[in-house]
Amino acid sequence: MIALIFRRFGFAAFTIAFVSVVMFAAVEALPGNVCTSFLQRFAQGPRLERCIEQQGLDRPALVRYGEWVAGAAKGDFGYSLKKRKPINELIWERFRNTALLGGIAALLAIPLAIFLGIVAGVRRDRPADLTLSSAAMLAMTIPEFVTATALIYIFAVTLQWFPAVTIVSPGASLAQMLPNIVLPVIVLSAVLVAHIMRMMRASVIDVMASDYVQMARLKGVPERQIIRKHVVPNAMIPALNVIALTIAWLLAGVVVVEKVFNYPGLGTLMIQAIYDRDLPMVQAIALIFSVIYVGVNLLADLAALALDPRLRRKGH
């Protein structure tokens, strides 16, 4: 059991290490480097040489990779020539903002989706299920930028309850930030809830038809208890992977939604960095996203281990 968890962690660490190599190599393979993209048309002669020397770009790639990884492990992602600031100073408050947005969306959406999925599955083909399933279908078909625009029009422009775009600075306090996240959270949650709910519903329907649920009925167990003890834990197991995948989607969705609402998170920073060809910044954000991605999948794996005794066997 402990070996198993240890192993999962090992695989996660391996994945992150692999991603970092690929990312570093990709940036290396691009024509030019930090200095050429920073100096642009002045990138020639002694000016370029001085920059290269300052940035340490004349050293072998392996050494620079080692330094980059060692720095990243301590939270130091280097220096952004474009912004003329250390990257971690820029990233930290943005990371907090994105975590706030994504975290609240996930914390709201996942339990709600599981609950609605159970309701829809148990009340299969009845009005509650039909309403929920159609709503989910709708939420999945409409792209998030359309939902976002519609919400902005209704709640920001017409009703004026929430700001349409964020105008506070990235470092604003939580209290200042909160009104700004309401609409983005709704947009993100809508799709999350739809995906997870549909999976949960299908999974509940499967389990409800199983022999062990019929057996529990024949044992005389009341319906509520059947759902709580026999259905939900078993239906959660296949749903977990979908939850993990949906959170991966959330990382991409965050970039779009942040852009639409001009929200000062990692997503907008990343888009900006790509425009600016600010390579160290792109590398840093991509690495953070990949760590979150792997972390979420690791959590899903561990949750599956906790729920499903069959996975806990030795030799898996």
Partner: protein, 683 residues
């Protein structure tokens, strides 16, 4: 006489179509069951046997409704009770033991928790008293170390243990009646024999009434006091087990008994022609008339009534006419001297360890199959028998190229090697080896017509197209006794037996040299099974193909095989001509296996080993049967591979013991008292 505990009275139930037409599943069934009595309900698929049993619990599968009649349990009218009251009775007074205990136990809850749930619902015990009761129940069903079992999850138990745990759960509510729906179908014969002995004791010890549903008359013979034979939703015959099995009154019961292959009799049993009337169809004559070999004009005039006989009841107008005895057909194989297939020292391993494990120094596991050596002559049938995990299907899959061999060689008649996996073989090699699968349902593409299914091998191997292919496909259907109009049907429109015939026709479309039959009759009803065995035998004679016939059913293997290999944990224990393998001296494992076979004869008792432990993987060295062998001789069995002792005419027994000693062992083991064996079971 005491009052019956369960009584169903003229019960009819079934589906009601939208236009109000009624499609009956049960047609006026009346049955009674007293406390402490065991009633066996037998019948083929679609006969309504499970429906009758569930109705006795007041339980209807979804979509069914009662047309007429009542079901009483302990004086309660089950179908007029409010649902709440009915739920209380279920699980407390009547409990179901399902066919597949592995699937009927909730995988995320521990065994103890699941039994505790039943206790909390049906008793007033407090938590600590319940905990004690859980342990008590688990030891009552003779599970080893019950304290430990209570903390295990269902998947951590073997199939037999899961079944026992399900019984413990059923007993939690102090059930007066147990409903067992094919509880041992799918278990190994040795495990099945142990469970049945245990259930017999339970019924005697606790005075529990049991309703035992099974398609297997051998099982019914062992456990039931009385038998009800169901046919087309009616009782065909009902009476004490001994009388029904010894002197069946209904032609259907006689046909059923005649179609069961017996261990002691080689040859193909007589099959019953035809199929039962479709479920829900209207009956205007005797339901069995179309299949009956004694049918007379009176049989077709009206539905015969259920008549009282000295011992029971029978629904036949001419029950005192015993009819013609049904003969078994002795096979007459055309075996040539040339070999069609040779296996030499084949080893097969499923699990190769990953790079991660290799890194931390783990070794490759013991191969699943090892030292598999045998030859197959042209026109010959070799039977492979063994329990689950014996490697019999694995060997077939290796020959077919579905799994790779790790070591050894597999060659066809002209020395053509079958080492390549199926996607690396050329068309001609593929053609020469064909496989027929256990589950015809899953091996036929439901979106293709039978014509299309048969056309594929004809096109691939012989380049036949259009009318030529159609003509050949018609011939193939003719050969498996299906009408040509079936070419345009889809598999879903065929019965189980018909689908299996299509599977056979598809294999023979390739005109194979070696046909691999993987449990081909296991999913079929006995009367259909007999016909399928006859079909395979006839086709072999016509085409000269060689068969490898895999089955867990020793009697079936005996019926069709010229030679038999007995496998345990992927190693051959004994191989030789059928007549010799099925007679002493036996390998200790063969002897165990034979002892566990249940015949439809109330006067035979199985001879059991002291334990029904299931082994998960073969031992790394020595004899494969070392851990369970009743004749274990000491260290030599654990460390050295047993020698193949040749008893002449190619009969080999792989055992350290001398054949003379084995003969003696055969005499003693048969006398083993089953009561004692059950007592010691799992100890």
């Amino acid at each position: 006489m005491t009052k019956p505990l369960i009584k169903i009275d003229d019960l009819s139930l079934g589906f009601t179509a939208r236009d109000g037409r009624q499609a009956p599943i049960l047609r006026g069934v009346s049955l009674e069951l007293r406390a402490g009595e065991t009633l066996g309900i037998v019948g083929e698929s679609g006969s309504g046997k499970s429906t009758v049993a569930l109705a006795m619990m007041g339980y209807l599968k979804s979509g069914l409704s009662v047309f007429r009649g009542n079901a009483f349990f302990d004086g309660h009218d089950m179908f007029s009770l409010p649902e709440k009251e009915r739920a209380r009775l279920r699980g407390s007074s009547i409990a179901l033991i399902p066919q597949n205990a592995g699937q009927a136990l909730t995988p995320t809850l521990k065994i103890g928790q699941q039994i505790d749930e039943a206790l909390r619902l049906h008793t007033d015990l407090d938590a600590s008293a319940r905990a004690g009761r859980v342990i008590e129940l688990l030891s009552r069903v003779r599970l080893p170390s019950p304290e430990d079992m209570a903390l295990r999850y269902p998947h951590e138990l073997s199939g037999g243990q899961q079944q026992r745990a399900a019984v413990a759960m059923a007993l939690a509510g102090n059930a007066k009646a147990l409903l067992l729906d094919e509880p041992t179908t799918g278990l190994d014969v040795t495990t099945q024999a142990h469970i049945l002995e245990f259930l017999r004791h339970l019924a005697q010890e606790m005075g529990v009434a049991m309703i035992y549903v099974s398609h297997d008359l051998g099982v019914i013979a062992r456990v039931a006091d009385r038998v009800a034979v169901m046919y087309a939703g009616q009782l065909a015959e009902e009476g004490p087990t001994r009388e029904v099995l010894r002197a069946p009154q209904h032609p259907y019961t006689r046909g059923l008994l005649a179609s069961i292959p017996r261990l002691g009799e080689p040859g193909i049993p007589a099959s019953m022609p035809g199929v039962p009337p479709a479920v829900g169809s209207e009956l205007t004559a005797c339901a069995f008339a179309d299949r009956c070999d004694q049918v007379r004009p009176e049989c077709r005039q009206s539905v015969p009534a259920l008549l009282e006989t000295p011992h029971g009841r029978v629904r036949c107008l001419f029950s005192n006419d015993p009819g013609q005895p049904r003969e078994t057909t002795i096979r007459d194989p055309q075996i040539k001297d040339a070999r069609a297939l040779t296996l030499d020292q084949v080893a097969i391993s499923y699990s190769k360890i990953g790079w991660f494990d290799r890194l931390i120094g783990k070794k490759d596991p013991t191969p699943t199959v090892e030292r598999a050596t045998f030859g197959l002559k042209k026109g010959e049938t070799l039977g492979l028998v063994g329990e689950s995990g014996s490697g019999k299907s694995t060997i077939l899959r290796a020959i077919a190229g579905l799994v790779g061999t790790q070591d050894g060689s597999v060659t066809l008649s002209d020395g053509e090697s079958l080492a390549a996996p199926v996607n690396g073989r050329d068309r001609e090699t593929l053609r020469r080896v064909q496989m027929i699968f256990q589950n015809a349902d899953a091996s036929l593409n439901p979106r293709q017509t039978i014509g299309e299914i048969l056309a594929t091998p004809l096109r691939l191997y012989f380049g036949l197209k259009g009318d030529d292919a159609r003509k050949r496909a018609e011939d193939l259907l003719e050969a498996v006794r299906l009408p040509a109009r079936y070419l345009d049907r889809f598999p879903g429109q065929l019965s189980g037996g018909e689908k299996q015939r299509v599977g056979v026709a598809r294999a023979f479309a390739a005109n194979p040299e070696v046909t691999l039959c993987d449990e081909v009759t296991s999913a079929l009803d006995v009367s259909v099974q007999a016909a399928a065995l006859a079909l395979l035998t006839r086709l072999q004679k016509e085409n000269g193909s060689s068969y490898i016939f895999v089955s867990h059913d020793l009697a079936v293997v005996r019926a069709v095989s010229d030679r038999v290999a007995v496998l345990y944990q992927g190693r051959i224990c004994e191989i030789g001509p059928s007549a010799q393998v099925y007679a002493p001296p036996y390998h200790p494992y063969t002897s165990t296996l034979m002892g566990a076979v249940l015949e439809p004869d109330p006067d035979t008792a199985p001879a059991l080993l002291a334990n029904d432990m299931t082994e998960k993987s073969p031992p790394a060295k020595g004899c494969p049967f070392q851990r369970c062998c009743p004749r274990h001789m000491g260290d030599v069995c654990d460390t050295e591979v047993p020698p193949a002792r040749d008893l002449g005419t190619g009969h080999l027994i792989h055992c350290h013991m001398l054949p003379e000693q084995l003969v003696r062992s055969a005499d003693t083991s048969v006398d083993q008292v089953p009561e004692e064996a059950a007592e010691n079971a799992m100890a």
